[in-house]
């Protein structure tokens, strides 16, 4: 049992935070885990990519190899598309659809979503709307986390526990929104079965 995940978004979206949450959840579940990221210059509003690998066997490469990701998690639709080469044959895409158009030549969003739909089994999530409904616009990354988590072979509830632990110093409203956001992400997946390679 293994799952290779590439997470992609824009600096400031909480991509690295979610990669870390997933890694912690998988660790609690007893898997071997390797999670890689970049810090520094790339964080300043630019494209951000993180890798997360879980396996019941020891893991070799620190990065998911190109063409091997079982799951591509997008926090932003253009960034999901940019990382398509990482996706394995039969791999799945789950991505938030709200564009972050902080660049001059951002393509029309309908074209971006259309390009994403070309790949079978792509799941598009309006994470922004779900986060707002959950009570905090800042919980958009946790909606994506909830969705990604439910596509991984991990024990239900583990992620919630980790977020709750992190949220100890948050206000009750923030904590509540975080938990609701995770649940909304999970619900958005519907009954799709977990990925694994």
């Amino acid at each position: 049992m293994k799952a290779d995940v590439v997470l992609a978004g824009v600096g400031g979206q909480g991509v690295l935070t979610v990669a870390r949450l997933l890694a912690e959840a998988a660790t609690v579940d007893g898997f071997h885990v390797v999670q890689g990221e970049l810090h520094g210059m790339s964080q300043r509003g630019g494209a951000v990519q993180a890798h997360f690998r879980l396996s019941d066997q020891p893991i070799e490469s620190p990065q998911v190899p190109r063409g091997r990701a079982d799951l591509l998690v997008g926090f932003e639709p253009v960034e999901a598309l940019r990382n398509i080469a990482w996706l394995a044959p039969g791999g799945r895409i789950v991505t938030a659809i709200r564009p972050i158009a902080n660049v001059p030549d951002y393509p029309p969003i309908e074209k971006v979503l259309e390009a994403l739909r070309q790949f079978p089994e792509t799941i598009l999530i309006d994470a922004h709307a779900l986060a707002v409904a959950a009570g905090s616009v800042r919980a958009e990354n946790l909606v994506v986390a909830g969705a990604a988590f439910s596509l991984l072979p991990l024990t239900r509830g583990k992620l919630r526990g980790i977020v709750q632990k992190r949220a100890e110093r948050w206000t009750a409203a923030e904590r509540d929104a975080a938990i609701k956001a995770l649940a909304a992400g999970r619900a958005a997946i519907g009954g799709a079965p977990p990925v694994h390679g």
């Binding site: 999670q35 890689g36 210059m41 790339s42 300043r44 509003g45 990065q63 044959p89 074209k111 971006v112």
Partner: protein, 540 residues
Amino acid sequence: MTNTAPETTTPAAELMLGDDAVAYGALHAGISNAYAYPGTPSTEIFTRLVREAQAHQVTAHWCANEKSAYEGAIGASLAGRRAIVTMKHVGLNVAADPFVNSALLGLGGGLVLAVADDPGMHSSQNEQDSRCLADFARVPCFEPATAQEAYDMTREAFALSERFQVPVVVRLVTRLCHERARVQTRAAEPQKPLQKAGPRQDWVLLPANAKRLWSQLLAEQPAMRQASESSPHNVLREGAGRLGVLTTGVGRRYLGEVLPEMAQAPPHLHVATYPLPAARVRAFAGQLDSVLVLEDGYPYVERLLPGIVPARCKVLGRESGALPASGELTVVNVRAALGLPALRLHEQAALELPARPPRLCDGCVHRDSYGAMLQVMQEIGVATITGDIGCYTLGALPPYQAIDSCVCMGASIGMAKGASDAGLRPAIAVIGDSTFLHSGIQPLVDAIAHDTDMTVLILDNETTAMTGGQPTELPDTRLLPVVLGLGADPAHVHVFAAHPRKVPELAALIRKEIEHRGLSVIVVKRECVQTARQRKTHEG
């Protein structure tokens, strides 16, 4: 070289960054002192050390630059105590003087240099390989492949340093620094007592002493090599075929990733310690027709192999063209080097995707500074603007495209002086507050001494922002007295409290000082938006 510390009874290995693993390795080796200047991807080693300093009764200080940091560690070793110093690869250029010379000293407490290379140049201006500098200084070097090894080897490095009384290098790369994995830690060793190292003749590098100490260092080389030859971190795995694979550091993991796809596992030697264990390499290569070297960084081992392996044995790697000469090892290029078919990759041809380079934050003070400079450029036409290292280097990109150069820490001021001396005027240097304290003060001394016709803009955001907001060594209120104290003409030294509404005012000030035919210094200040936000979160 074996570590005798007992295993703790807590079995739960913790998920941590490779950088964290180095920090805990040092803490558990009983360091008393730690020094650093931040630099991606090494920064998080020291962030961790600072956080743990109090609990472990360790002095952990950020320093003005890597040279100062390294010298702090030598001083701790003189006191008989263990010390670690951490930096990025180009930081070791700054610290090269104390580093190379410390190899000659009769070190007391173990001195370990953890240096993080950045193959692929994710956050750096070059991909120099610190193994070459360890070799240059004639000192041992460890090259961990995993976070666990980073922990284990950092601990072991202290004992090795004390055994040979030389600094020992732990060479890291970006992928290891910024990888989170489980690490099993062990019980900490006690700190070493305060005991001044001696004798003095082993610490005073007058030529008479230096000649003797250099000869001693050279005489120790065979013993250091022997320690490397017998290290259990260098592992030989038997295999089939006449092509052998020699891996170093994370190279082993890319080979491990593709091994299941190979018809038969090739003979494999993993090298993790330097000086290169030549006898092991020779024994490994004895029956082989060729050796493929998988190493991240320079073709360092590849270049050492001819003369070690039999003459008929071909050496393949980055220099031979079997692997790309630059950039990181990846599963893709390792597959190709091993002759495995390329994987078919998904493509999307429907859309041309916009590039999304890093950018200055909304509300960043540098936006005001560059906005003002562009205004001035529109008025006066051309100028030469030398840049420096930090967030403000992003002023090279659209929409500003304002700077002409970015070379190394502190270079903006010396280069503006040289450009002005040579006739390229107006010359403007742009440097951040932390970079100014790092190595901008000395070239400013030169510019002041000659009252060079140039304008220095010190962009003061009150932090080392690019690496995550480490405190600068002096509070920003000290910048003005430092500049004035060096002897700059107070009539041409200004501190400007920036505000987006005051950009035209800033532009007018810059223009006025450009027109002054001598040295001017303008400190543009406003707190970094990122650290301001963090501070509010903590205070709230």
